[in-house]
């Protein structure tokens, strides 16, 4: 395409938006609303996933050893476990450390009672590995494997925690996809309406263009430009709004609800927007392109 033709096509696309002001504004507004909702939802989901990840990182599988097992075998078991792909981190807790931890929790303020057991550790057979997983949904696999390892007496895990977190993650995934699909359909429908109006307004001009030898590509291009521009503006505006809203919200929560910010760690604004900005812009431009392309195919016999 010649540069002058590109400029002309681009100008025509902008003119289409201008000529069709009301519909274009309605499209941009609705697109903005859709992308705003998407962004809002995305930020919430990202934060939820962050929280879930934090909780997940606290879910551990505990492996106890058979009585009388030697230190060498315990180390071997440790090596076997650390090689598993499901394992993110692991820690060895000796019997003494286990008794110390127990004492800290249950004998707070009466440490002298713990000292009474110095030579006779009630948790003598309680040395264990604490294993932290990459993904809690893999917990049952790992547990089955660990139970088969020689020298392992008992494997303790919380199926409930793992299942709840896995289900919750899956739910978030389904809801995200559902909402995104609905927003996509609404936005495509609206862009399509705007372009349809643009086509009907310019029907005569299109007929003239065709009669004097304009290619299909030349006729279509301004409408594609129109759709893309609406998508671009419609996604850029809510991103700016969301950026300020999100950054203010974090500061506000940290200021006013200290108890909440101690419990939940909001992701920093840049962390959320480094993905949200390209995704929302691509989504907006993509919807604009798709909406206008589909409409042209339907209403413009060129």
């Amino acid at each position: 395409m010649r540069f002058s033709t590109f400029v002309y096509t681009f100008k025509q696309g902008v003119k289409n938006i201008w000529r069709n002001k009301i519909f274009s504004l309605a499209s941009i507004a609705t697109m903005s609303a859709c992308i705003f909702l998407f962004g809002l939802f995305y930020a919430v989901v990202m934060n939820f996933q962050n929280i879930v990840k934090e909780v997940e990182s606290g879910v551990a599988v505990t492996v106890f050893f058979e009585e009388g097992i030697g230190a060498e075998r315990i180390e071997e078991i440790g090596d076997i476990i650390s090689k598993r792909t499901e394992v993110a981190d692991m820690r060895y807790v000796s019997a003494d450390e286990a008794w110390e931890e127990f004492g800290e929790i249950y004998f707070e303020g009466a440490e002298d009672m713990v000292e009474g057991f110095e030579t006779d550790n009630p948790l003598a057979e309680s040395s264990h590995y604490e294993i932290y997983l990459n993904d809690v949904s893999q917990q049952s696999n790992l547990v089955t494997y660990l139970e088969s390892v020689e020298g392992v007496r008992e494997v303790r895990s919380s199926d409930l925690a793992a299942n709840v977190l896995t289900d919750f993650n899956r739910l978030i995934g389904y809801v995200s996809v559902g909402i995104i699909l609905i927003l996509l359909c609404v936005a495509i429908f609206l862009i399509s309406n705007t372009v349809t109006t643009g086509i009907s307004v310019r029907r005569e001009e299109i007929a003239i263009m065709k009669l004097i030898g304009a290619t299909d590509y030349f006729v279509r291009s301004p409408f594609i430009v129109e759709g893309i521009l609406i998508g671009l503006i419609g996604s850029a505006l809510p991103l700016v709004l969301l950026y300020f809203m999100y950054s203010r919200l974090i500061v506000y929560v940290a200021d006013k609800f200290i108890w909440l910010s101690n419990m939940l760690h909001f992701l920093p604004v840049n962390e959320v927007f480094k993905t949200l900005v390209p995704v929302a812009l691509i989504l907006g431009v993509g919807i604009g392109f798709l909406g206008s392309r589909l409409t042209i195919r339907k209403h413009l016999n060129v």
Binding site: M1, R2, S4, T5, Y8, R19, E204, E205, A207, I208, M209, K210, L211, I212, G213, A214, T215, D216, F218
Partner: protein, 227 residues
């Protein structure tokens, strides 16, 4: 230049708009096509522009059969055929200059060439002083001149005019016909569909008369001829 071989065109209703029409127009000819409403004149223009496909027969323009032109090649074909309509079909939101330049823009002509060519066309149709006017500010005759300039700006070999004087008073109708004649003198083949028998008689050109989709006469008008 233009050849129709046993061309018929029937619409869905079944009544043929054109019925077994054969004719030949040479390069550089000026031809009138006359006939009542429903005689098939407009269908003929649409077939020549490849807006419609014939039900039967073959149309050859510039040595090429229109049936062999693929959909994608239609724009290129149309660039060699200028067209003018009764209702001018100008873009109301663009001035005279832009209306003419538009025909060049759609075929991706470089801006430099557009700037050179449009003023030449404006001078040819006598509207150099009105290049900034909008269609609503022009008379019917002037609007048709703009339409003619637009049709010729890409230097087509053939000019088709569908009732070009239908919306004009007698004075303007004559001006337009004189202009079309001048264009023909410069080498462009001109085919004019018209109702205006007074002008047809006075112009003394070849006249094809159609009736109910059939060519009923095809004669070169002399001083003593009548339509």
């Amino acid at each position: 230049m233009i050849t129709l071989e046993h061309v018929s065109k029937a619409y869905k209703a079944g009544i043929p708009a054109l019925n077994d029409v054969s004719l030949h127009i040479d390069k550089g000819e000026f031809v009138f096509v006359v006939g009542d409403s429903g005689s098939g004149k407009s269908t003929l223009i649409k077939l020549l522009l490849k807006e419609l496909e014939p039900t039967e027969g073959k149309i050859i323009i510039n040595g090429k059969s229109l049936g062999a032109i693929k959909r994608k090649q239609i724009p290129k074909f149309r660039r060699n055929v200028g067209v003018v309509f009764q209702d001018f079909r100008l873009l109301k939101d663009r001035d005279v200059y832009e209306n003419i330049a538009f025909a060049q823009r759609v075929i991706a002509t470089p801006t430099k060439k557009i700037k050179r060519r449009v003023p030449v066309m404006l001078s040819m149709v006598g509207l150099a002083a009105k290049y900034k006017s909008y269609p609503r500010q022009l008379s019917g005759g002037e609007q048709q001149r703009v339409a003619i300039a637009r049709a010729l700006v890409n230097e087509p070999k053939i000019l088709l005019a569908d009732e070009p004087t239908g919306n004009l008073d007698n004075h303007n109708a004559w001006d337009i016909m004189k202009l079309l004649d001048e264009i023909n003198q410069r080498g462009t083949t001109v085919l004019v569909v018209t109702h205006n028998l007074e002008i047809v008689k006075a112009m003394k050109k070849r006249v094809i008369t159609m009736k109910k989709g059939v060519v009923v006469s095809d004669e070169r008008m002399g001083d003593d001829d009548a339509v």
